[in-house]
């Protein structure tokens, strides 16, 4: 294990949709956070939140084929998702920061959705937090990541260890070559630093309107977006939509990396958010293919990680022809906790169809 860098790093807020930083501290940060009231009448869709946030980074460490950036911001509300239910999580009185261990596959930049990072925090050798498994989350400024609000007893330096297990079986190429990994960081928790992080109110007239905050670009940390449809491998068959989610469909002639036999094809569906093109992991998807009214495939579209397709869902099929009808059924919405602006979206996802 090697610590490549350890420096405070202020992530900039997205360029569009927000002005300068003047007057950005619209709240006082003491032990927790005072977030603005939620937008009234939130649409059941991706909407612009009340504010955008900056974040800090404790460093980037690589191990086992992965890299990990320990990023953090002030604590904030989010929503957990279980099935079709969302539950709002308020900031606790003792929450010190929102901790986000961002783990990605070093070679491809894919943020794996099949491993859940674990976090241990110590101070002077004494355990402060252990066995914390942050939630998989979706945020407009970060896309898919893991995070949770964390209590720390006082300001000062903490040792934070992030670990991930070996990856799952549904990976291709170099993504399949990772090992169990551990990353150690020193995090200097200072309220003054958090206070200085960008906090930008979104103009009231824009809050709650359809749209999304711009993703945050951070030096050294890849922002994982779903490939643009032109960049997807195979024969791109088109895009269909379901409740704000976009599904780009492509077919590959070679299904062998995905467990198929020679001569079989691969049907890949790449669901992504509108505006920011973030992939949507942790869905249960099914697909039906039919030709001239006859069903040629009916089954699960399973989640895979692939260097070129990124996080996507696919199935091995016996061949696809132009004109085939594809129906994509969402059996469960993405089981991802949501940051503001995503909590009402991607929950009611009707079946989507596409003529290939």
């Amino acid at each position: 294990m090697r610590e490549r860098s350890r420096r405070a790093f202020l992530g900039g807020v997205g360029a569009a949709g927000v002005g300068g930083l003047a007057g950005c501290l619209g709240f006082e940060l003491e032990s927790g956070s005072r977030e603005p009231a939620l937008v009234e009448n939130r649409p059941d869709a991706v909407y612009r939140p009340t504010h955008t946030e900056g974040m800090a980074m404790a460093g980037v460490v690589s191990d086992g084929g992965y890299s990990c950036a320990l990023t953090y911001s002030y604590p904030h509300r989010f929503w957990t998702v279980t099935g079709d239910d969302t539950t709002q999580v308020e900031v606790g009185a003792d929450d010190a920061l929102h901790l986000m261990p961002v783990v990605w596959h070093s070679e491809t930049g894919v943020v794996p959705s099949d491993v859940n990072p674990s976090v241990d925090v110590t101070r002077d050798g004494e355990s402060v937090v252990d066995g914390l498994n942050p939630w998989p989350m979706l945020a407009q400024q970060m896309g898919f990541h893991f995070g949770d609000n964390v209590e720390l007893p006082e300001q000062g330096e903490y040792t934070v260890t992030v670990s991930v297990g070996a990856g799952g079986d549904r990976r291709t190429g170099s993504l399949a070559e990772t090992e169990r990994a551990e990353f150690e960081f020193t995090l200097d928790y200072q309220r003054s630093e958090l206070r200085e992080l960008p906090f930008q109110d979104v103009p009231e007239a824009r809050q709650g309107t359809l749209g999304a905050a711009e993703p945050m670009e951070m030096e050294m940390v890849p922002l994982m977006r779903a490939p643009a449809s032109d960049d997807l491998p195979g024969t791109v068959r088109g895009t269909t939509e379901s409740g704000d989610a976009q599904f780009v469909v492509t077919t590959l002639e070679d299904a062998t990396p995905f467990g198929g036999d020679e001569g079989q094809g691969y049907l890949a569906v790449s669901p992504r958010t509108p505006y920011n093109r973030f992939p949507l992991p942790q869905l249960s998807l099914s697909g039906t293919l039919s030709r001239d009214g006859e069903t040629t495939f009916d089954g699960y579209l399973n989640e895979w990680l692939d260097p070129d397709l990124g996080i996507h869902y696919g199935a091995v099929v016996d061949g696809v022809e132009g004109g085939d009808e594809l129906t994509i059924t969402v059996d469960t919405p993405p089981q991802l906790s949501r940051h503001e602006g995503y909590e009402t979206a991607f929950m009611n996802l009707p079946a989507a169809t596409l003529t290939l």
Partner: protein, 439 residues
């Protein structure tokens, strides 16, 4: 005695068990209420079953019809050191164990105990354990755990409803007491043959987790329900969710009548569980989504009686696909035989290290039975084929970390004192030598 006094005293006794030692014991005894526990028999070996783990007959049944679990526990992790045991050491160990058995009756109010041995202990013998004993060294049982190996040579498990009893037995086994419950104790002590590497303590039963929730891993506002038997707030060892002792007993070979014991040290992080999950989410994750949607579980689940009604939960994969969450108990249904699990749970909660934890102790005929059960709990296929994550919405995996795993053999009583790896061979060898001597 007022209720609050009762709770004060209970908390005090539990703390004393956690602290341990002669001073804690005497403080406990000095503090009033003399406990009145009947003594054990003069000759425990003649009176007690060959199966050390045959506790059920000695345990009362709860109002809900489940076996009561003794409320206070001590696990003594022992090291034997180098070399192989002598007959004298075996006699010493047996004498020490019999000493405490004479002091307290064999019951939940009195004392229940087992002694078990690890693969590291058996490594010292030239012969391997017989094939009828499945006792591999412990290993990680999921892609996301990295446990330490529990390589103590032996574990003594002491259980009683009275903290004073487990503490007293512990002190006597260490040779610290001349008399226990009015019964003279032998000079022999476990510490003549072993050194105590570590003492682990814990508790189970209504009220105890709530009274002991001021530890790391539990939010500060005291969220553990007052009557809950375990930190996570629910009953877990329902009678209908436990196999018989027969099912977990080794049937063949020289260790027939014994069992294997899997012991993991788990830490709990219940901040998310109590502060971020709703009760409905908790019921979904502990039992199944059906139980959450239909309000099947009241409070800790006493209303379920002996049966957690797993048949109503549906197929775990189907639930995961359609609900995005799968229950912990629900995942275990598939590993049942004759409608019962294949591991017998004797686990309990702990505040060791001032953090909320579980000593997950289970008995099964083979360690493979435990591995099968744990693999079902991992739900890897469910994770892979549905919206359920590696940990998120995957039962209770998000809240539990396995920090240590150990496998042990609980030999039958007649072999409980420093057993050889191949008692049958030894017996045959001894018999052979005897014949040679006779000739």
């Amino acid at each position: 005695m007022s209720d609050s006094h009762g709770i004060d005293r209970r908390a005090f006794v539990k703390s004393a068990v956690a602290i341990g030692g002669a001073a804690a014991l005497s403080a406990c005894l000095d503090r009033g209420t003399e406990i009145d526990v009947p003594r054990g028999p003069e000759d425990p070996t003649a009176a007690f079953p060959e199966r050390q783990h045959a506790w059920n007959a000695a345990l009362p049944t709860t109002d809900a019809g489940n076996n009561h679990h003794p409320r206070h526990r001590v696990l003594l992790a022992l090291d034997y050191g180098e070399g192989t045991p002598t007959e004298a050491e075996r006699e010493t160990v047996e004498a020490a164990l019999a000493g405490v058995e004479r002091a307290y009756e064999r019951s939940a109010a009195g004392l229940l105990l087992t002694i078990s041995y690890s693969p590291y202990y058996f490594d010292r013998f030239d012969a391997d354990l017989p094939e009828s004993v499945d006792l591999p060294e412990p290993r990680a049982l999921s892609a996301f755990e990295d446990p330490a190996a529990d390589d103590a040579d032996a574990i003594v498990h002491l259980a009683s409803d009275h903290g004073e009893v487990v503490m007293g037995a512990e002190e006597a086994l260490k040779g610290e007491l001349d008399e226990l419950n009015g019964v003279p104790q032998p000079d022999a002590a476990l510490t003549d043959a072993f050194s105590v590497r570590e003492r682990r303590t814990g508790f189970i039963g209504d009220g105890l987790p709530a009274e002991n929730q001021d530890v790391s891993g539990v939010p500060d506002d005291g969220p553990v329900p007052e009557d809950a038997p375990l930190y996570m707030g629910f009953e877990s060892a329902f009678e209908g969710n436990q196999p018989t002792e027969d099912r977990v007993t080794i049937r063949e070979g020289p260790f027939a009548g014994g069992t294997t014991q899997q012991l993991s040290t788990l830490t709990l992080n219940l901040t998310q569980w109590y502060e971020q999950d709703t009760r409905e989410q908790r019921v979904s994750k502990m039992f199944c989504p059906h139980h959450a949607a239909n309000n099947v579980v009241e409070d800790a689940g006493e209303n379920l009686g002996t049966d957690p009604r797993m048949d109503d939960c549906g197929d775990p994969m189907e639930t995961a696909r359609s609900e995005g969450v799968v229950g912990h108990s629900q995942k275990m249904v598939d590993v049942r035989e004759d409608d019962a699990p294949i591991i017998l749970r004797r686990d309990f909660d702990s505040t060791d290290g001032d953090r909320a934890g579980v000593h997950f102790l289970s008995l099964q005929r083979t360690i493979s039975d435990f591995v099968t059960t744990r693999e079902a709990m991992n739900g890897e296929e469910i994770d892979s084929d549905s919206a359920v994550g590696q940990r998120t919405n995957n039962g209770i995996l998000q809240y539990i970390t396995t920090v240590r795993r150990g496998n042990f053999l609980v030999p039958p009583r007649s072999l409980r004192a420093l057993p050889p790896a191949r008692p049958d061979a030894d017996v045959a060898e001894v018999a052979e030598r005897a014949e040679v001597a006779d000739a």
